[in-house]
């Protein structure tokens, strides 16, 4: 991955700054919830881009850190409700791991609020849309990711 010639859409804040958010969604419940939000035409801000993973248990703390390093203003991880994971218990692992990650973000001064873990089922299209609205709003309040100030990054 090269960082040459990269243009970061609005990552330096100020006028016209828009939060740039990535969401890791598990394939079985929350990705389907996102699909249902679409089918139901529930509107939400276009700041979030979904990366599909098989299970929330696939998401490593490094993914979150790396995404923030690359310039994300927020990272969302969504999975099935506890007890509903397609792979039985992947989300339980995600819960432990993401709590750790949040603590780490707090320690690093990035702030735990830039990351969020949410359970969304295949039938919760409205919850998906609402989560997208809320999280985008929250990140907007927090402002641009401090790691990307001045346009530097380690990509």
């Amino acid at each position: 991955m090269s960082s040459e010639g990269e243009k970061k859409p609005g990552s330096t804040g100020g006028e016209g700054w828009e939060p740039n958010i990535v969401a890791f969604c598990c394939n079985w419940c929350s990705y389907a919830g996102a699909d249902l939000a679409g089918v139901s035409r529930f509107q939400y801000p276009p700041n979030i881009k979904v990366i599909r993973v098989m299970c929330s248990g696939r998401v490593e703390p490094q993914f979150v850190l790396r995404a923030l390093e690359l310039g994300a203003d927020g990272v969302l991880i969504t999975g099935c409700h506890i007890g509903d994971c397609h792979y039985l218990s992947g989300n339980e692992k995600a819960e432990v791991r993401m709590k750790m990650t949040a603590d780490l973000l707090e320690m690093l001064g990035i702030g735990r609020d830039r990351m969020r873990l949410e359970w969304i089922s295949a039938s919760e299209g409205e919850k998906f849309a609402e989560t997208m609205r809320e999280f985008t709003e929250r990140i907007r309040e927090l402002g641009p990711n401090p790691l990307t100030n001045g346009g530097e990054d380690s990509g």
């Binding site: 699909d35 509107q43 979904v50 990366i51 692992k93």
Partner: protein, 623 residues
């Protein structure tokens, strides 16, 4: 891992779909395709009106050949429904299907950003850039073929379960049919007759019960439940446990059908239910009719949508209008018969006082109407009243609106009207009330058409309450790892396109376990589920997804973390104490990959590198 194309030049093709106006109406699709052409590695890009239509698929195949594409990105709807179609298409053109990436610009973009075309277009570009970044890092995969156990498990011995089991048995597959009650038949055993016949309900399904019991391919387990399920499509290990014993029987099956049915909703004090003796549910009423223990009655009222359509549950239970009409006609036509033995054995409720056939306002109105039409004649009015239902019995159906869906049913609705069954509408903000006036049961209601408050005496109130999910549906849901929806019924893989499949391969659903349905519909679904369940059994093998974990034993330290983490016990230690993945058992969740402290595990098609490339592309304009 096989990667025979690693040295080849990357030639990515991008196909951006309008989906008619579904995407095209809210995203500038041609500009997204133009943008795709500027991305490194992309040698071809085009937009299509419908990429999934025949000409759209042909365009993909042509482009693969003409432009020697070795990677394909389709930006359209959702991979959850359409990935198999496009994967098959690239495969037909000679490209390994794992060299394809799906980008969702409909559900995740055009449909959720309908009021901001510019931003939606920008996001669609970002998503395509992510897809291209990802596709470039994919490598071809071979899918392991896993042999299938050629037998099936059917849970629930109602009409749906029996039909499915019999259908599979006829195809030559052994079936284990598990029913928790002591006999087959399900809910129908409670019923008196089935619309649109007058024949006894249990008698109607008796031939099916006999066929199931006597079929050599079907083993029926009565009084039993499924206590354990492990495995995956083609290879489920199931345990069946009799309710009264501890010894379980074990079987291996290839497919599973859930046909556990539904139950009737009841609630304390709903329109006086369980408070007043003569307030019963539809099912209780049918049981009384079937047993011929109906009390003597003069005035019968049905209350439709009792507890449904927003009162307690959100949905319409679909069958109750037709069921109420069936029973109303029964009462009128067949009242003496329904009283039957009860009368003979003297069990019937004491004679009820005779009430005026119609309230005075109605008599008044009828008088006015008939005198307007034909002069005067009080006798005529009297005659009309006498021609009322069965001379002895008044049937009123309080309803919000009658939904007599289906070809034959509107005629039955008309027939009920001809028989002077009264249909009185109510609005949900002014529901009828069941009250006790002294020792008399009364219904207080607001007559929508006449716009007056009314009271009428009743001897029997029948509540059309909805079918609701089985209380133990959650157990089955957990056992089989299949979801229940918000209302507790089992949730199929796709509301429109995959009505009897679960998202979990090899598990299917039919009948009222899926939501309210009548017998005809339950049988249709059961036949569908049986044919879906037979597909892997007939093939004899399933092609497993190649998405799975790989341990790089050069890096593995043998710590065993992954072994503890894997929910399927798919990782073992080899002789050297290093981790090894059992391909047939691994489901590809990636939990092990995320927890390995040495980063020794990679996930096919979901490598760290691929996911991070996607993230990078999501955040930056260069890839």
């Amino acid at each position: 891992m096989e990667n025979d194309k690693s040295n080849e030049e990357l030639r990515v093709g991008v196909f951006v779909c309008h989906c008619g106006t579904n995407i095209g109406g809210f995203v500038d699709v041609p500009s997204v395709a133009e943008y795709a052409k500027t991305l490194p590695g992309v040698v071809f890009a085009m937009d299509n009106l419908y990429t999934c239509a025949e000409d759209g698929l042909a365009a993909i195949k042509n482009a693969i050949k003409e432009h020697k594409l070795n990677r394909v990105v389709v930006a359209s709807c959702t991979p959850r429904t359409h990935a198999p179609l496009f994967q098959a298409t690239v495969e037909e053109a000679g490209l390994n299907k794992y060299l394809f990436t799906f980008v969702n610009i409909r559900e995740h973009c055009s449909w959720v950003h309908m009021k901001e075309k510019e931003k939606a277009t920008e996001k669609a570009r970002d998503l395509v850039r992510m897809g291209v970044a990802r596709v470039k890092l994919l490598s071809p995969q071979e899918e392991p073929r896993i042999p299938v156990e050629k037998s099936a498990l059917v849970i629930g011995g109602g009409v749906a379960g029996m039909t499915a089991a019999h259908s599979l048995a006829k195809m030559g597959f052994p079936v284990h049919l598990v029913e928790k009650e002591k006999e087959l038949g399900g809910f129908v055993r409670n019923l008196n007759n089935l619309y649109v016949t007058t024949k006894d309900a249990t008698e109607t399904i008796m031939p099916l019960i006999e066929k199931v019991k006597s079929h050599p391919n079907i083993k029926v387990y009565l009084n039993s439940k499924v206590s354990n399920v492990h495995g995956f499509i083609g290879n489920f290990d199931v345990k069946i446990k009799p309710n009264d014993k501890d010894e379980e029987v074990e079987h291996k099956v290839g497919s599973i059908i859930v046909a556990t049915g539904a139950i009737e909703y009841t609630k304390e004090a709903l329109y006086g239910y369980n408070v007043y003796k003569n307030v019963v549910t539809l099912t209780e009423f049918e049981i009384m009719c079937k047993n011929k223990t109906l009390p003597k009655v003069k005035n019968v009222a049905f209350i439709q949508c009792a507890g449904s359509r927003g009162q307690d549950v959100s949905y319409c239970s679909r069958i109750c209008c037709n069921v109420a009409i069936k029973n109303a006609i029964n009462i009128v036509d067949n009242y003496d018969n329904l009283l039957g033995i009860a009368e003979q054995t003297g069990k019937a409720v004491e004679e009820v006082p005779v009430e005026p056939k119609a309230p005075t306002e109605v008599l008044e109105r009828r008088r006015r109407r008939s005198s307007r039409g034909r002069g005067r004649e009080d006798e005529e009015v009297a005659e009309e009243v006498k021609r009322g239902p069965g001379e002895r019995i008044e049937v009123t159906i309080f309803n919000r609106d009658i939904m007599s869906y289906g070809i034959a049913h509107e005629l039955y609705f008309n027939k009920a009207r001809e028989k002077r069954v009264r249909f009185v509408r109510y609005k949900p903000d002014r529901r009828p009330e069941v009250i006790m006036d002294g020792d008399k049961l009364m219904i207080k209601y607001f007559h929508e058409t006449l716009a007056v408050e009314r009271e009428m005496p009743v001897d029997l109130v029948i509540l059309s309450t909805p079918l609701i999910a089985q209380p133990d549906a959650e157990d089955i849901s957990r056992l089989l790892k299949v979801p229940c929806g918000q209302d507790g019924f089992f949730l199929e893989a796709h509301v429109k396109l995959r009505p009897v499949d679960f998202a979990t391969d090899g598990v299917f659903v039919c009948g009222t376990a899926r939501g309210p349905a009548d017998i005809t519909e339950s049988i249709e679904q059961a036949e569908a589920a049986a044919s879906r369940a037979a597909t892997p059994l007939a093939a004899g093998y399933v092609q497993a997804e190649a998405i799975m974990a790989h341990v790089d034993q050069e890096i593995c330290s043998g710590c065993g973390t992954c072994i503890d983490v894997c929910p399927y016990g798919a990782i073992t230690k080899n002789e050297e104490g290093l981790a090894e993945v059992v391909a047939a058992a691994c489901k590809g969740c990636g939990c092990c990959g995320a927890s390995c402290p040495e980063n020794a595990i990679s996930m096919t098609n979901y490598t760290d590198e691929q996911l991070m490339a996607e993230a990078l592309a999501a955040l930056k304009e260069a890839i």
